[in-house]
Point group: C2
Chain length 210, copies 2
Amino acid sequence: MAARRRRAPAGESRDRVFAAAAAEFASRGFAGANMDRIARAARLNKAMIYYHFAGKTALYHAILNDMFGAVRTAVTAVAASDRSPEDKIRAYIDAIAAEGEARPHFPPIWLREIAEGGEHVDAETLGYIRDVLAALGAIIAEGNRAGCFRPLPTLIVQGGIIAPLMFFFASSRVRARIARLTDADVPAVSREAVVAHVQRLTLAQLEGRV
Amino acid sequence: MAARRRRAPAGESRDRVFAAAAAEFASRGFAGANMDRIARAARLNKAMIYYHFAGKTALYHAILNDMFGAVRTAVTAVAASDRSPEDKIRAYIDAIAAEGEARPHFPPIWLREIAEGGEHVDAETLGYIRDVLAALGAIIAEGNRAGCFRPLPTLIVQGGIIAPLMFFFASSRVRARIARLTDADVPAVSREAVVAHVQRLTLAQLEGRV
DNA sequence: GTCTATAAATAGATAGAC
DNA sequence: GTCTATCTATTTATAGAC
């Protein structure tokens, strides 16, 4: 979100389109998303979508941008803070989890983009992703200099963080379905438990304990 | 695959359709997959797809079935073997990695199904998934009785295994793109390294070491 | 078994009134 | 800013010849 729009024109219909589109893209993917359905969910007509956005692709890009822009802002601040490297890793993970959780469409969309090689990612979003990785790289490098981290490749560490996080957040529906299938055994793991777990695992790797 | 087809009719055109469809579904998702493109990739015409399969959905179900049927067969054998619980966990992970790697379409399709709550999973495939989880549950229970494993929920352990595996296998394209973006830092992790890593991590969790 | 049409439905996008 | 109506292209699916 952020930019665009000058006077917040009473009806905030643009936000409704945005929200409806995010949900549609999350549950059906880019190709499966349907402009008519988005309009209906936004309690508007299709023409209004094209009034606010240039087209399906531009709409999708706006959503990706909002997602990764928010993550970039958060983790850049973490990297620039004056905590210890260990605390920065924890905060980095917290930030990604928080932004991912604040947008229910975030994990499914990210998962899909990975599955299709980031085919719909535009240049602006790609820049944000680069910044996110740079932030993590800087934290790891700082830990290296301080002698507390091993020099693991940034992408490996990032994978170890987002794989379980996105997977967990995105899979609540499948988990529910599978739980229903195998009756019981529904642990209902909390967000906090997952985040704490990923934090421990990541630090254990960085510190060479596993 | 397995079932269906009685006499392998010379041209094995059904296999070509199957393979082309698997690749198409993997890279574009169910909604984004296009029957014309599948036909072209299979060096056939669209009518031939409908000659072999009832429709787009049936074609997709056949692919899901092949994927999860293979995993089910492999992990059921592992659970029934007479290794130690630790070895069974390693073999379980190995089996999933092997089946996933043998089918390049497997990781992307699985990732997508998770993103959309398994909406296109049919009853037969769901049964296979149940069996896979039952196998893992049996291994964990055996370890509990032997006193070497903590009683972690099956779904949690399964998530810890498939999240990194599917993520890694599915993300080679994005990883390459990101690596190109940040220039260098391309670790080119091997399949063996990832599997070994997941095995260590999973056992560390089950044995309460992390 | 394999092919060439073609039917029938759907979906992205726009014109133009209010 | 918001709407209805519509154009156009794409897409699943099938009929029917060979």
